[in-house]
Every structure is written in C-alpha cells, then in structure tokens.
C-alpha cells in the first residue's frame, strides 16, 4: 500500500534510505519537521560547485569566480521563481532563524523617521503557537525598543482564535509575525485573513514559512505579504542555508544587519554606505555551495511537483489521523479534522512519557521527535509538558504510518504491562 506518489522510486533518490537503524532495521523517518533528507541530486550540485567552480562570488575577475557567481545567482533566481518573486528580493541566510533575526535587528537599527522604527507603545503581534525562532527575536526587539509584544491565542483544538483579532491587531500594531503551519500541531493558519487585518492598520506582515514552503505551493504575491522566511534543510536542501524573501522596496529601505565585505557601496575608516538589496544583507563570503544546493533542491521539488507533494501528504494525513485516533489512550495535540492541516502529528500517550515512547519507537527504527519542539509557550497553553511528534514528507508512505502505529502499541504493552519483580 502506498500514497499517491510512487514512494519506492522516490526513496531511491535519497541515499540515506540505504542505511539501517538499530541492528538492521528499516529507517522509518518521521522527523522531517526537524530536518528533511537530501536527494543525491542536491549533494551532487554542492559537490560540483566545490570540484569545478569553487571561488569567491562577486569578487574575482577570473573564470572560476565568474562561474561561481553565475551558479550562485542562478540559485537565487530558482528560489525567487519558486516563491513567485524576483531575484532582487531573495536574501540568502544561514537558516530561517537568521532570516527572522535579520528583520528584528534591521528594524532596531532603523532611524527614528523610518517606517521600520518602533516606539514605546507600538505593538508586535505573534501567536501562541510560534516556534521560538519567530518569538524570541520579537521579544528582544520589543525589549530593545519599548514596544509591546502581544499574541493571538490558540484554541484547545489547536487553531488560532481570531475572535478578538481586531482588538489584538490594532492601530498601534506595526508588525505581525506568524507561522504559516505550526511545527507542533500541523495547523495551517488562515494567512489571508490575518494579512487583511494587518493591512487594515498598516502593519508589516512577516510569514514564518518553515513548515509550509517545503510542503505546498507558497506564492508571496497571492498571499500579499511583506516578508517570508524558510530554511533550506527542511526542503530537501543543504544545511547552512536559509532564505529571507522581502518586497524589494522594503529591503532597499531597510538598514543592514550583518556588516562587512561585499555589502558595501563605499567605506572610509569612520563610516560606510551600503549596496542595494539583496547584497546589502549578504555580508562576507556567502554560503555559496549551500545556496547552489538549495537551487538544486528546488528544481527537484518542482520535478516532483508541489501539488503532488501536497496531495500525497493530504492522503497520508487522513490515514494517520484515523489510525492514531483508534489507539486507546492516545490524544492528538492539534486539529483532528483534515481542513487546513499538514502532515505533522503531535500526541501524548496515557502513562507513557514522550521521551520513553520516542525511545521505544527508536528501538524499532522509527525516528520521531519528543519534547517541546521549540514551542515551549504552546506546550504551557495546551497544558502538556511535552509531546511525541511524527512529521511526514513525500518520501513517507502508508507503511511508515503502519509501523508507527504498531510501534506505539508495542511501547504501550511494554510500559503498561503489570510487573512483578520486586525492587532490590
């Protein structure tokens, strides 16, 4: 039994599925929400860069430098097209965390009369389901500027509660920064509705697209947002590369973040002026091979088809929700209906701590994540100390879910069986 995509064939593109786990067992990887695996084509693209074109981009007049620059800039265009945007709007960072910090620091570097400047009393709005990467930078920005950080609450079934949106995103609001899909709950948020509220009060809208861009088509024009962040490593790309997309007119108005080589216009001992975006935000020799690898990753994803990936994940989600809910004592933390929901499943098991469950699954070759998933405040809201999380991608199929289900039953058996042996 398989999903809509031919997973057997797809898996052949990913070398890691040739290895086994804990003494010869099949690798059942359900941790793509943390990081995805990489197809051979991405590794080959990085390697080709190093073996044939390696050189510092934008800096040399020799042939290697020309070739390296061309490959790097082609990768930028690939990412730009993927998001339905323009090359001048794509900044390469090291990960989504840096992308979001770039915004928060650039805003606090801005001068008093800039649109990015925050004053005491101004508001930054996030949600209770944010990943730490889209929460702490805003806490810090609020602390630096005296702005107030507030948030949209989460309902007990893991959706955003928008009932008070107009009082939360109010006239004081300058920035709204929200995740597209929760990495814990799987919830896909109604971005257009929130963008409309932000537009109404003239606030900037920032989308944390770490868990959406790898899984379904994200079109920045259609969503009508201002900034977007995602990480290459969750989208079958290399580690060490992330993306910040921003509207060109905004990026060009923003103050720099990291400063140094390649981002300048002119420099004296005591001051400097800066290049246009995206160069303005790419100080130093960039993560060239990684950017080139990300370009290849996106070509690969396009080859599979984002629509196909989405449909495949919808099928898996339906299957997994049914199966998981049939396990006695298992509680799904997050929406249990299919609507606006991705293939990420957090759950708790009666009388088994998530760490123990994760360990038991690992002994069967099943990789899940346990803990607070870098969304500790959400855990507090939902009143769970931790969850077990299975997160799927297009290289997973029904059999992986079956393995998870029987692994859970086995763990249940092991941890809740009556015991006789006496303590020494």
């Amino acid at each position: 039994m398989s999903g809509l995509l031919d997973v057997t064939t797809i898996k052949r593109d990913f070398p890691i599925f040739n290895r086994t786990i804990r003494d010869g067992q099949r690798l059942i990887y359900l941790d793509s929400g943390a990081t995805s695996h990489k197809p051979k084509i991405v590794l080959d693209a990085e390697r080709d860069f190093y073996e044939n074109h390696n050189s510092a981009v934008h800096r040399g007049a020799h042939q290697l430098a020309e070739e390296a620059t061309e490959l790097f800039e082609e990768a930028r265009l690939e990412v730009a097209r993927f998001l339905n945007s323009d090359g001048s709007e794509i900044v390469f960072t090291k990960n989504a965390t840096e992308s979001l910090n770039l915004l928060a620091y650039s805003f606090s570097n801005s001068s008093k009369n800039s649109r990015f400047h925050l004053n005491p009393g101004d508001r930054i709005v996030v949600t209770e389901m944010e990943h730490h990467a889209n929460l702490i930078p805003w806490q810090q920005l609020a602390a630096r500027t005296g702005a107030e950080l507030t948030w949209l609450p989460v309902t007990t079934d893991g959706r955003l509660d928008l009932s008070s949106i107009d009082s939360i995103i109010n006239a004081k609001t300058k920035i709204v920064a929200i995740t597209h899909q929760s990495n814990v709950l799987g919830t896909i948020n109604p971005i257009k509705e929130i963008v409309a509220a932000a537009r109404n009060v003239g606030a900037l809208f920032i989308l944390d697209a770490c868990q959406s861009v790898p899984h379904f088509k994200v079109d920045v024009k259609d969503l009508d947002i201002d900034f977007l962040a995602f990480s290459g490593h969750k989208a079958v790309g290399p580690t060490g590369v992330g993306t910040l997309w921003g509207r060109a007119e905004l990026l060009n108005e923003m103050e720099p973040f990291l400063t140094g080589g390649s981002m300048i216009e002119s420099v004296t001992m005591s001051s400097a002026t800066f290049a246009e975006a995206p160069q303005r935000f790419e100080a130093g020799v960039p993560n060239m091979a990684q950017a080139v690898g990300l370009g290849a990753a996106i070509r690969y994803l396009n080859g599979i088809g984002m629509e196909n990936i989405h449909n495949h994940e919808v099928a898996l989600t339906k299957y997994a929700l049914d199966k998981l809910q049939s396990i006695p004592g298992l509680k799904i933390i997050g929406p249990t209906e299919m609507k606006n929901r991705g293939a990420v499943f957090s759950f708790t098991m009666e009388n088994i701590h998530p760490h123990d469950l994760g360990q038991a699954l690992d002994q069967n070759g099943i990789a899940v994540r346990t803990g607070h998933h870098c969304a500790w405040p959400l855990m507090r809201v939902l009143n769970v100390p931790a969850t077990t999380r299975a997160s799927l991608y297009f290289y997973n199929d029904y059999s992986d879910i079956d393995a998870l289900i029987s692994g859970i039953y086995e763990a249940k058996e092991f941890f809740t069986a009556p015991r006789t042996k006496e303590r020494k």
Binding site: H355, W376, M379, P385, F415, R419, K421, E422, R423
Partner: protein, 146 residues
C-alpha cells in the same frame, strides 16, 4: 539492544513507585532543574543534619529514566555523610557518561547500576543525571549557607 536492557525492571518499578517524591518543607536548600530540550522539571528539597544528608525529597515531571534515577538517588544518598554522598554521585556520573563502557559497582551505586545501559544513549544521559545534578547543586547551596 532491546527495550528491556535499557528499561530494566528496577527503573520501571522506581518510575511507578518513586521514593521520597513529596517535598518536606523548610529545607536548607531548594533547587529547580530543567531539562531544556524537553521541558522536564525536578524540584528538590535538601535537609542536612551536620555532615549528614538527612532528607532528599522532590517533585517533578519527566520520563521514566529521570524519575527513576531521581528516586534511586534520593534513596541511596539519604542518611549518608556528605563526602560519602558526593563520592557515590561521582561514581554514578562516571558510569552514566561512560558511553556503555562501565557497568557500575552495585556495592557503591546500588540500584544505580540499572542505569548503565542509558550511557549508550547520549540523548538520555541528561535524563539520568537531572536529579543527581539537582542534589549536587542543592548541596553546594546548602553548604554555602552554613
């Protein structure tokens, strides 16, 4: 390695019936330790009587390893001289950090030997140590107050 050799009966038993898991008030030191990667938490109260560890009581949430290990620790170190307690603690830490190389001496670390298997799982080392580290911390705070 199968589940049984990691989760020995002793561990599961301490997990189900933890010892000293009820805080006695008015300790000489109270500490809270977090496992920052999973959100687990141990609150530990220490009572000293001269050079004697009089009570180790605790509360908290966590996985079987962290709960059982804290239970074992509280049982083992209560009633010991401070320097004796510290030397048991050092022996236990050594076993847990041995990456599967040490089995531990039951004469010294008692039920603690059941955790030797944990040392092969780097991600669980913190779980096995959280209660012990809380004790160590409480002890140094308690001694500073004396």
């Amino acid at each position: 390695m199968n589940l049984d050799s990691l989760y020995q009966e002793v561990i599961l038993d301490h997990y189900k019936n933890p010892l000293n898991k009820k805080l006695i008030p008015n300790p000489i030191a109270q500490v809270t330790h977090l496992n920052t990667s999973c959100g687990d938490e141990i609150i530990l109260n220490l009572h000293l009587n001269g050079d004697l560890v009089e009570h180790i009581t605790w509360e908290g949430i966590g996985c079987s390893i962290s709960q059982a290990s804290t239970s074992v620790m509280s049982d083992l170190l209560t009633g010991k001289q401070i320097n004796e307690a510290m030397s048991i603690l050092e022996s236990f830490v050594e076993v847990i950090q041995s990456k599967g190389k040490l089995n531990g001496d039951e004469e010294i670390i008692g039920d603690g030997v059941a955790f030797a298997g944990v040392s092969k799982f780097p991600a669980r080392v913190k779980c096995a140590l959280i209660g012990w580290m809380a004790f160590k911390d409480a002890l140094s705070q308690g001694l500073a107050k004396k």
